[in-house]
Subunit: 415 residues, 3 copies
C-alpha cells in the first residue's frame, strides 16, 4: 500500500448496498478526541494581535501586551519578547490564579504574579524570584509549563503537547508554508459554540454547498455553485495523503478537482425542480471557481481557489472546550511581484476579510452550532445516518484515528 | 370493586391517627414520571396558531408556517397540510440538526433539511429524496418518527408514544369532547418553570384556595371563596373514575360539589380571627360559584363552573423538560344557540383569556415554581408532610400509577 | 504541650529543605468542609437590618420585617419579636416552599405559610394551626427546625448545628465581645463568588500585602505597607491559641506584631528594584500602622489596628454555597467616653464603611474569585505550591482540622 492511497469507499457507496448506520468502531480515537489531539501544532492567534512586550511601572501596574488564550482546554499566556513570541501556562503555581487577570511584568523577559509576586522567566518558565519572599528555597526549583511557539505566515502556532515538538510543517495544509505564497498578516477568527470536529466536518463536507446556494457571496459575485457533488470516493476523486504518517509532511484528505459529479439541477418532488442559482455556462458568471478542497491534521482546511480565482482559503478549527472551538480563516495568494502582493493584501483587507466570514461562513457557523446538541449531548456519533458524500468525512475520521499523536484528556493539568 | 370507587382515605385522615410522612411506595410509577407518561395524548398548541402550509421559493427560502414544540423531552415539528395537522420529529436523521432552525418545504407535503437537502414526506416521515445525492440508496429506506395528531375543540393533540394510538377520548377530561360544548378556538398557554406534576397537584389541590383569597378575580367579581375545604375523601366527596382503566373513557379523580366542609372563618391564633373576603350569604356577591373539580389522566383539570357560573375551565400540564411544563388553559360553555355562542366567545376573548391567567392563575404559577427546588432537587417527594386535604392529591398519584401506559424515559431518542 | 503552643513550622521553612507540595493529609477535615463547619456560630446579618416584627393585615398581606439568608447551604428566616431575634428554617414542612417568597404573619409570634396556611410559632417552630384544616391532627406534632440566635456588637449570630449551642464567646475573635470595645451597629457585607476558605486564607495571608501596594487606601492615607513579611512561624512570630480546644474561649492563630521580617525593597530581576510606595521613616507617612493579625474559628479575622491606628477591623467569611460566601466587615474601637464613641461612629459611617471595602478589600475579593476555579473545580488543594509565608495558612488549616465541631454536609436537610 503506497503512502498515497486511493480511497475505495468502503462504506456509504452511492451505488449498491448502502450502509445506513455509521461504523464508529473504525474511528474510535476520533470519537475520544472531544478536546482535540495532543502533541500537535495549532494556531493561537495572529501575530499582528501581539505587539512587543511592555513593562510594568515600578510598582507593578498591569501591562497590556500579553494575550491569554484557551486551547484544548488549557489556558496559555503569550508575550512577544524582542520580536519572538513565547508562551507559558496561564496559572500561577502557588495558588492557581490566572496571571492574565492582571498581568504584571517588571522586565521584558519576566512575568510576575499579581497576587504574591511569584516571578517567572517568560522564556523558560523557571521561577526566578518571589517578591514577597526573596530568599525562598522554591526559587529555581519550580517552573511553569512552557509551550513551543512558531510564528509563520501571520499565525502564531503553539505546540500543545509534551516533549520535543514535531515539525510544524507536518501539521499545516500542504503548501501553506511555501515561500512563494503570500499570506495576509492578520486573518479572521471567532469562537464558535460547537465541538471542533463539527467545524472540521462541516468545512470539508462536499454536500453542504447546498446550504450556501443563496449566500450573498454566491449572489453578489455570481458564482456558479453546485447543489451537491456526488461520486467522490469511488476509486477516484479522493486522495489520502500520508495515511499512516510514515513520511514527513502533513497528513490529509484531498478532493481532486472535477472528479465528482456535480449536481446543477434536481427534481425535488414530482414536478418540482430546483436548479443552482448560477449555472457555469450562464452569461456573466464568474469563471475558474471549481475549488480543490483538502483537510489536514490536526484540523485545518485548504480550499483552492476561494473566494476568488487567485486566492487560496485556509481554515483552522482549534478546540477550546468540549463544546467550543476557535475558528480561524486566513488567505494566501501566489503573487508575482511586490505590486501584485500589495494589491492582494489590500483586496483581502478591504473586501474579503469582512465579507467572507459575515456573508458566507456565517452559514457554516449556523450549521455547526445546530449540530452540537445532537453530537455533544445526544450521542449523535452513533445515531447519525451518513450518506454517499460523507465518504470523505469518514475518510477524514479514519485518517485522524490513524495519524494522531495523542488524545487530549478532559481538564488537562499541566505541572 | 366497581370501576367507580368511593375513596376510603387510607391515609392522612383528618381524624384519628394521622400519618405524618407520605407513603411514596404507593405511587412509585408517578415518582418515576418526571417527564410524564408515554403513550398518551397531550395538547401541543392551539389550532389557531398553525395556518395552512406555505411553500419555499425555488431556492428554498425558509417557510413560516411550521411550528416547533418540545413535549416530554421530544422535539416535534407541526405543519397543517390541506387543513389537517401532521407532526414529525424535529431532527434530521442525517446529522441531527433541527429542521425548525430554518424550515424549508418545496411542496406542501414535504420537508427538506436546510443543511444537505434530505427531503421527507411530512405525512409519513419517509425519506423521499436527497437534493445533494438524488440517487442515494437511503431514499425510501429511512423515515422520521411521525406523531399521531388530532385537532379537537381548538387544541392540537399529539400522541407521544409508540404503535397505534389509543382513543383521544380516553385522555381528556370527561365532557370535554361533548358536541354540545362550545370551546374557544384559542385559549392561553405559557411555559412554567417547574415539573408538570407540581402543576397538576397545585391545580387539583382543594386547600390552595387559601392563596387565592386576595386575588383580583375574587375581589373584582366579589366571588365567595373558601379559605379551605376539609372532610373530603372520607367515604364521600371524592370519586375515582375508571380507577384501573378497565373501561373505555378517561380515568380521573373528581371532587363532588358541596360534599366537603368549607372553611369560611378560622381563629388563626388566640383572639386573631381570619374570615373569607366574601361570605356566600353576603349581599351583592356572585352566586353559583361552588365548582366541581376533577383531574384526568394524563394531566388535565376540569373546573365547572369557573371563572363564571356558565363557564367550564380546563387546564393541561404538559411536560416539557424535567423542570418545565407548558400550562394550557381553555374554556367551554354549553351554548343554546348561535347568539349565546357568539356572546361566550366574545366574553372569553375580551375578558377572561387575559384576566384569568394574569390575575388568578399567576398565583398558581408562583406557587408551583416555589415548590420546584424542593421536589426536583431536594428529594421533596419523600420529605413532604401531607395533611388531610392532600388525600385528593394522593388519590391522583395512585390513579396515575395504576392507569398510565408507560413512563417517559429521560432524553428519549426517537429512531 | 501547653494550650498556647509556639508553632515550629513543620513545613515550608524558608531555610533548609523546602517542601514544594502541600501535605493535605494534615488538614483532611478542612478539605472536606466546603460548606463550613457545623455546630458553630456565624453572623447572619446586622441587627440594624432587622426591625421589630410587623403583622399581616386580616387577609394575610405579606409582611416586610422578616429576613431570609442562606448560610452553610441552609435557608434561614429571621424575625425580631419584642426586640429579640429568632430564626427558623425557611421551608414549609408541607410542600417545601420558602416562606420568604411571600412572608405572612398574623401575629408577631407566628409565621403562616402563604400556600396553605400552615401556621408556626416563630420562637419554637411548633406547628400551631393550619388555616385550611384547623382540626388537623398534625397540629402540635410537627415543628420547624429553629436556630439559636445571639445579637452582639451589632451582629446577629446564628448557631448552625444540632443540640444545645456552645458559647458564642468560643466562636468570635478574642476581644470582640469586650465591654470596653465599641463596635459600629451596622458594618458592611457582600456575597463573594468563591469558597469561604479562600476568603479566610486570603484575609490571613501575610504576603498578600503585595497586592495592596497600590490601593487607594495606601496612597490616600500614605500608609507604609510592606511588600511582604517573612520569617514568621519559625519558633516565634506566630501563636496558636487553644490549639486543641481544651479550654473555653476561642481557637485561633495570631501573628505577633513586629516579629516577622518586613520586606520594604526587593531586586525583582537583575538591576530592577521594587520598593514599597511609602517607607515607614519617610516624611509625612501615617504612623502606628503595624497591625497584629489573627484568624479565629470558625472563620473570622481580627486586624489591630486597621484602617487607622485607633480602629480594630473584623472580618467573617460565612459559607453560603460551596462556591460563594458572605463577607462581613465591621469595626471597633476602645472609646474612653461618649464623645469619643460618637466621633468613632461618625468616622466609620462617613468614611471607612464605604472607603475600605471599595478601595482596599475589593482587591481581596478580586483575588479570592480568581482562585476559585483552581480550588473548587481543578483539585487545587492538592496541586498548590505553598511557600514560606504560607506556614501561617497551614497552621490555620491544622487548627480548623483539630478544633472544629463537625463538617457541614452538602445539601443539608433539616428535619
Amino acid at each position: 500500500m503506497s503512502d498515497t492511497e486511493r480511497a475505495s469507499a468502503p462504506d456509504h457507496a452511492s451505488g449498491g448496498q448502502a450502509r445506513v448506520r455509521p461504523a464508529p468502531s473504525q474511528w474510535g480515537p476520533y470519537l475520544e478526541a472531544a478536546l482535540g489531539f495532543r502533541n500537535h501544532w495549532y494556531p493561537a492567534l495572529y501575530g499582528a494581535e501581539l505587539e512587543e512586550a511592555d513593562v510594568s511601572g515600578g510598582l507593578g501596574e498591569p501591562v497590556s501586551n500579553v494575550r491569554s488564550v484557551v486551547m484544548l482546554g488549557e489556558r496559555l499566556l503569550l508575550r512577544r519578547i524582542e520580536g519572538r513570541v513565547y508562551s507559558v501556562h496561564d496559572q500561577c503555581l502557588h495558588k492557581g490564579v490566572p496571571f492574565s487577570k492582571k498581568p504584571e511584568c517588571y522586565t521584558k523577559g519576566t512575568l510576575s504574579c499579581w497576587y504574591h509576586g511569584f516571578t517567572y522567566d517568560f522564556r523558560t518558565g523557571r521561577l526566578k524570584n518571589i517578591i514577597t519572599d526573596p530568599g525562598s528555597p522554591l526559587i529555581g526549583r519550580l517552573a511553569l509549563k512552557t509551550y513551543p511557539v512558531e510564528e509563520r505566515k501571520g499565525l502564531v502556532f503553539v505546540y500543545i503537547g509534551d516533549g520535543e515538538p514535531t515539525p510544524l510543517a507536518d501539521d499545516v495544509p500542504a503548501g501553506f508554508l511555501d515561500d512563494a505564497l503570500t499570506v495576509v498578516p492578520d486573518g479572521w477568527s471567532k469562537e464558535v459554540a460547537c465541538n471542533w470536529r463539527l467545524g472540521a466536518e462541516n468545512g470539508f463536507d462536499p454536500a453542504h454547498a447546498y446550504m450556501h446556494r443563496n449566500s450573498p457571496l454566491v449572489r453578489g459575485f455570481r458564482v456558479p455553485t453546485v447543489l451537491g457533488d456526488t461520486g467522490l470516493g469511488k476509486g477516484h476523486g479522493m486522495e489520502i495523503i500520508n495515511p499512516d504518517r510514515k513520511l514527513p509532511g502533513p497528513c490529509g484528505v484531498r478532493l481532486l478537482r472535477g472528479h465528482g459529479q456535480p449536481i446543477w439541477e434536481v427534481e425535488v418532488d414530482a414536478g418540482v425542480r430546483l436548479a443552482a442559482r448560477y449555472l457555469p455556462d450562464a452569461p456573466g458568471v464568474m469563471q475558474g471557481m471549481v475549488p480543490e478542497v483538502g483537510i489536514w491534521m490536526p484540523g485545518a482546511l485548504r480550499v483552492d481557489p476561494f473566494p476568488a480565482p487567485h486566492i487560496v482559503h485556509f481554515e483552522w478549527y482549534v478546540p477550546v472546550s468540549e463544546r467550543t472551538h476557535r475558528y480561524f480563516i486566513t488567505w494566501g495568494s501566489m503573487c508575482e511581484d511586490a505590486a501584485a502582493k500589495e494589491a492582494f493584501l489590500d483586496e483581502v483587507k478591504y473586501l474579503w476579510r469582512e465579507f467572507v466570514p459575515r456573508y458566507f461562513n456565517n452559514e457554516d457557523m449556523f450549521a455547526r452550532e445546530a449540530m452540537d446538541e445532537f453530537y455533544s449531548a445526544e450521542n449523535g456519533w452513533s445515531r447519525e445516518h451518513l450518506f454517499g458524500p460523507d465518504v470523505v468525512v469518514t475518510a477524514w475520521r479514519r485518517l485522524c484515528s490513524r495519524t494522531h499523536r495523542g488524545i487530549q484528556k478532559r481538564a488537562p493539568r499541566p505541572g
